[in-house]
């Protein structure tokens, strides 16, 4: 909503208040002023000129040499506009003038002819092209005949004005009208407002003699008022009217259309003007459209209607899409003599639906959608009739043609001052509350210590007690509310164990050198199931904005890989990222997808980079595995974790494993398949993903201290030669099984293949630690346990002991 302060001052006294101050006060009271637009934009030296003479430039076809009376002198100005002509009153920027955009006007010679200034278009004065009346859109603007040469043109054009741009919240549709704004500003300034004085002469002929009205769709159109004005002369509107409309962001057309738009802006009540003769039938019927019925709207677009769209018809065919846009067939035009003014209440939901369906949002539909004031429907029609009589010379026929089943009773709200104060935490007196409500012109009675309020229908947002609390609070000032803290039954607060552990996961991974990434949940359908830990239906958007963001992800890995590629492409060769976030799997019974929190890691490039000491190591499987093991240890799963070689699409078949917790698969880890790396422009890359929710919810043993060893442990090393296929995991398992309860720790410390080891075999060495918490072990006991281990390795893994 654009609010011209010049226009506003017709209704409320804002003299002496700087626009910036006014804007600030309006903002603090609840309507945010987005910007303050100074329409003069610092222009000076722009005056009215009278074109005394206008001849073609001898040297240039498109230029005219004009002798222009600018008050103090008659001076020569060269003008290139196609519509300049002798006798016109025009806008002249004199030498020294500065126009919007910093254009400086100087004396100049154009093709040998002197030019002392410029004859201006409205665009050159900073008015948007789409607001300039069509007749002047391609040339200079022509002022009314009575403009005086030399007179300052800015006030004449209403450019000595400041416009406040409101950013209205949906509840404050009352401020979609100048009168609504006047009520608000009046309340803020503790002033009354001046409503338009409506009176005009009526013709003896009655409107209902000319026009019949039938409303069939009474639910969607509970009130319809039509007035008929005869003998109108369609012409350009007076300058003041055009100025107001342009200030409000509306393009002037002709007097009748401009008047309907003026009243729309003034009252917030959309009006429509029909050419009575073009209606042909002398009848208006409001009904729902036939399915597939067509109408050509004012913007010359043909629209196909559905049976719930409300239309105004002439009894035969639609002449307007109710509340949204008029039809081309009944439009007021230059030859129109009899006008039908429509003022109606169309149900918000109906207008909203129709406007959405046909993709048309107009000033009218925006107001109907939010509900116009039922008590202004008639008044707005009267106001338009008055102005048409004044400005288009029409004779207003007596009375109106009316259908009215609209409820107009104000909402009654009864509320006690105590209630208000207890909700606000304040002590505002009842008198002051009454004063505030009076300033807002909300009729209020004090009855038995209660406020009995009849909320005016212009304020559609006042329905319940809390709405009144807000009115009191915002007018009293939020700065006055004290600062207290809530007193509630004390709950302990804090993180749940799950949330606390999630933080531990983050801290651990970051301590290990990984950076936290946050990627998008929406991905392409094609990529959505890649690397998923389980197979499930995808969750797709009904109307995606792009193919790339059309489906919810089932794995975090694809987007982490995209982040890797992004970094690598910018020469950040070593990247290690992790992310925690939801994946979306299939559909649960309640219709929502199964949402599971996952953790994923992706890393590439160097892991250790300490080049000057000759240390450098690329990321490999075991770097990532070490991180996973470390994390799981931190979470208390040290001996419950296993890794099993696995084949997973997109992963290196020899370097990928399932991660198992207590034997159940909770994740995957491994190297990205070379073809996948190539596709993504990545070098050797490792990824892992686990079902974090499962892991964080798994029960862990209580943390109970074990006594610090008082007796020494004994260590024995074994070096074995085994078949290449025998896994370290299997050997360790055999050792642990055979070692009995004295064996406390097994550590792999050497692995070798090649020279001196038989083809197809490998040499592998473990260090075993034996320990008894109760006493010092004897050599014999250790030898006995160790022999069992050696025997088991020989028999179960076909291992040869190395010397």
């Amino acid at each position: 909503m654009l609010v011209s302060t010049k226009w506003l001052s017709k209704y409320v006294n804002i003299n002496g208040i700087a626009p910036a101050d006014l804007a600030e006060r309006i903002t603090r009271a609840g309507i945010e002023v987005d910007s303050i637009i100074n329409r003069s934009q610092g222009m000076t030296n722009v005056v009215v000129g009278h074109v005394k003479e206008c001849v073609k430039h001898p040297e240039a076809d498109k230029l005219n040499i004009c002798q222009v009376d600018v008050g103090e002198e008659t001076t020569q100005i060269i003008c290139g506009a196609p519509n300049v002509a002798q006798g016109q009153k025009v806008i002249v920027a004199r030498p020294g003038a500065v126009l919007p955009g910093g254009v400086k006007i100087k004396k100049a010679k154009l093709r040998g002819e002197e030019s002392n200034g410029m004859i201006c278009s409205l665009q050159e004065l900073g008015i948007e092209g789409k607001l300039v009346p069509k007749a002047y859109a391609e040339g200079i603007y022509v002022l009314p005949k009575d403009a005086l040469p030399g007179e300052d043109a800015l006030p004449l054009l209403g450019l000595d004005d400041t416009v406040l741009e409101f950013d209205l919240t949906p509840n404050r549709s009352d401020a979609l009208s100048m009168l609504g704004v006047a009520y608000e500003v009046g309340a803020i300034l503790s002033q009354g407002i001046a409503l338009p004085d409506i009176n005009y002469d009526q013709a003896s002929e009655k409107a209902e003699d000319l026009l019949k009205l039938r409303v069939e769709a009474t639910h969607d159109n509970p009130m319809y008022v039509a007035k008929v004005v005869k003998n109108v002369t369609i012409s350009e509107s007076p300058l003041w009217l055009q100025n107001y409309l342009m200030a409000a962001g509306v393009r002037p057309h002709n007097n009748v259309v401009d008047i309907t738009n003026f009243v729309l802006m003034e009252y917030g009540q959309p009006l429509h003007a029909f050419d009575y003769d073009r209606l042909e039938t002398g009848e208006i019927v409001v009904r729902h459209a036939e399915e597939g019925e067509k109408i050509v709207t004012l913007d010359d677009a043909e629209r196909t209607l559905r049976s719930h769209n409300l239309v105004i018809t002439n009894g035969k065919e639609p002449v307007a899409l109710a509340g949204v846009m008029g039809g081309a067939n009944s439009e007021v035009h230059d030859g129109t003599t009899t006008v039908v003014i429509e003022s109606a209440y169309f149900a918000p939901a109906s207008v909203r639906q129709t406007s959405k369906e046909v993709g048309l949002r107009s000033d009218a539909s925006a107001r109907f959608e939010k509900g116009v004031d039922p008590n202004r429907v008639q008044e707005a029609a009267e106001r338009a009739a008055q102005l048409i009589a004044e400005l288009a010379g029409g004779a207003v026929l007596a009375g109106s043609v009316v259908f009215d089943e609209l409820e107009k009773t104000p909402e009654r709200i009864v509320i006690s001052p105590d209630y208000i104060n207890s909700r606000l935490g304040m002590k505002i007196s009842m008198d002051e509350m009454m004063t505030i409500l009076k300033r807002l012109q909300i009729p209020t009675d004090a009855v038995n210590g209660q406020l009995v309020i009849d909320a005016p229908t212009r304020r559609q947002d006042l329905k319940i007690k809390e709405d009144i609390i807000e009115e009191i609070a915002r007018m009293h000032g939020y700065d006055e509310i004290p600062k207290t803290l809530p007193v509630t039954e004390s709950v302990p607060g804090g993180l749940t164990p799950y949330q606390a552990k999630r933080r531990v996961v983050r801290d651990f991974l970051e301590g290990a050198g990984l950076y936290q990434a946050i990627t998008y949940s929406l991905t392409s359908k094609e990529q959505s199931q890649a690397f998923a830990l389980e197979t499930a239906e995808t969750t797709d958007l009904l109307m995606p904005m792009s193919e790339e963001r059309s489906t919810l992800r089932q794995s975090l890995i694809p987007h982490l890989l995209e982040a890797l590629t992004y970094n690598v492409a910018r020469r950040m060769d070593s990247v290690a990222l992790y992310e925690t976030g939801s994946v979306f799997l299939g559909m649960e019974e309640d219709g929502l997808p199964k949402e599971v929190e996952h953790l994923a890691v992706a890393m590439t490039g160097q892991w250790v980079d300490h080049a000057w000491q000759g240390e450098s190591k690329n990321v490999d499987f075991f770097v990532l595995k070490g991180i996973v093991e470390g994390l799981m240890n931190r979470l208390g799963f040290s001996d419950r974790l296993t890794f099993e070689k696995a084949a997973i699409a997109g992963m290196h078949p020899g370097r990928t494993a399932d991660i198992l917790l207590d034997g159940n698969r909770v994740g995957l880890i491994g190297q990205l398949h070379p073809s996948e790396m190539k596709k993504r422009d990545l070098k050797e890359t490792y990824v892992m993903e686990i079902n974090l929710a499962d892991v964080l919810k798994a029960e862990t043993a209580e943390l109970i201290y074990k006594p610090v060893p008082r007796f020494p442990s004994m260590t024995r090393d074994i070096a074995l030669v085994v078949s290449k296929e025998t896994t370290a995991g299997k050997l360790e398992h055999i050792i642990r099984d055979a070692g009995g309860k004295l064996l406390k720790d097994v550590k792999l410390f050497d692995l070798y293949e090649g020279k001196n080891v038989e083809e197809g075999k490998k040499s592998i060495a473990f260090s075993l630690t034996y320990f008894d918490p109760e006493r010092t072990l004897t050599d014999e006991e250790v030898v006995k346990a160790h022999d069992k281990v050696l025997t088991a390795l020989t028999t179960q893994a076909d291992a040869q002991l190395r010397g």
Binding site: R28, G30, E32, T169, P170, K370, S422, R423, L424, G425, M426, I464, E466, D467, I469, E470, R474, Y478, I481, P482, K483, L485, V487, T488, E489, V491, P492, L495, T496, Q499, L509, E510, G511, A512, G513, L514, Y515, Q516, A517, I518, Y520, S521, L522, L541, L542, M543, M545, R549, L552, Y566, N567, A576, L577, D590, G591, L592, P593, E595, D609, W612
Partner: protein
């Protein structure tokens, strides 16, 4: 013999003096004081002396031995010190060479902001509530006083999965779910999470972003409680000398509704680019829980009241750290994320 002894002493002392390292000195020790050395020989030869001379000679030999031993020890100390000195010089390093980097990842800046907010409210006795990112229309809109066809739904253009399921447009459905689950009990929660809106990604819009909301419900919760809570929050988050101001606003799920500005933390209110010369920065939206919302969740609004507030960690991070483009948060450029690895003042 006495003369012989004297000569021996002189000789030994010279050799001790001449020894240039520990090993040489040890050789001298062995040569003179060892079992096969001349002094031992002399002692062994004592038996041949007349008995009356023995004590005198014995004392003399001992004096010589002690003198030599003392000289040896002091020379030894000296040489050892020199050896250590030499070793230290040899071991000297260039301390300006770079150290071995310790592994150091860090939080994403949004997590950093979210955790800071969470921790403040946890200290005030709040719990953290979480909920699904794919929501029912009911929890996302209807239970929040936004029935189908409500004009305010236009404020939040949504991604629908089906007619009744959508990606949540705010974290408020978590509030609705929590109220429903608490069945009339008092509530103090913070709800952080990802939300989604139909926006084209540009410098100030992102189809996915983060929200963090708070909700307090109980008997006699007043608007002054909201103001006091937000004031403490602003001071904790943006500096002890921050002032707040509330401006009336509109949200369908609160009434009255307000927006909260804080005095600009860059210029202190004088006016600068961060606050667009106004001295104030808009930080969050808040209000008293709308009675319809309470009613729908099974609370009696005549007895129980509440307040709610919500803010965008992206906006807060952008303001705090001067980030100019919201897309930085989702590009995961390591050169961006790694800047948030240090503590603040």
């Amino acid at each position: 013999m006495e003369q012989q002894l004297q000569q021996l002493k002189e000789e030994a002392l010279k050799k001790i003096q001449d020894a240039s390292d520990v090993k040489e000195l040890n050789d001298v020790r062995v040569a003179y004081l060892g079992k096969k050395g001349p002094i031992t020989d002399l002692l062994k030869g004592m038996g041949k002396l007349p008995a009356e001379e023995r004590p005198k000679m014995g004392a003399l030999v001992n004096v010589v031995r002690e003198t030599v031993t003392e000289a040896l020890e002091s020379r030894m100390t000296l040489l050892e010190e020199a050896a250590i000195q030499a070793q230290l010089e040899n071991e000297s390093i260039d301390v300006t060479l770079p150290g071995r980097p310790a592994p150091a990842g860090n939080h994403h800046p949004l997590t950093r902001v979210v955790e800071e907010i969470e921790d403040f409210f946890i200290s005030m006795g709040y719990e953290i509530a979480e909920g699904p990112e794919v929501e029912k229309d009911y929890y996302n809109f209807e239970a929040l006083n936004l029935p189908k066809g409500h004009p305010a739904r236009d404020m939040q253009d949504s991604f629908y999965i089906s007619e009744d399921i959508l990606l949540r447009t705010h974290t408020s459905p978590v509030q609705a779910r929590t109220m429903e689950a608490k069945k009339g009990e008092a509530i103090k929660i913070i709800c952080p999470g990802k939300v989604y809106r139909r926006d084209n990604d540009d410098a100030t819009h992102s189809h996915q972003f983060t929200q963090i909301e708070g909700l307090v419900v109980g008997e006699n919760i007043r608007m002054s409680d909201l103001k006091g809570t937000l004031d403490l929050f602003a001071k904790k988050m943006f500096g002890a000398d921050r002032e707040i101001r509330l401006r009336p606003s509109f949200f369908p799920f609160t009434e009255p509704s307000v927006e909260m500005d804080i005095s600009c933390f860059k210029c202190g209110g004088a006016g600068c680019n961060v606050c667009k010369k106004t001295g104030w920065i808009e930080i969050l939206g808040a209000g008293m829980v709308h009675p319809n919302v309470l009613k729908m969740a099974g609370y009696d609004p005549s007895v129980v009241t509440g307040f709610a507030f919500g803010m965008g960690p992206e906006r807060i991070a952008m303001l705090k750290y001067g980030v100019e483009d919201i897309r930085h948060f989702y590009t995961n450029d390591i050169r961006f994320i790694s800047q948030f690895n240090r503590t603040e003042a």
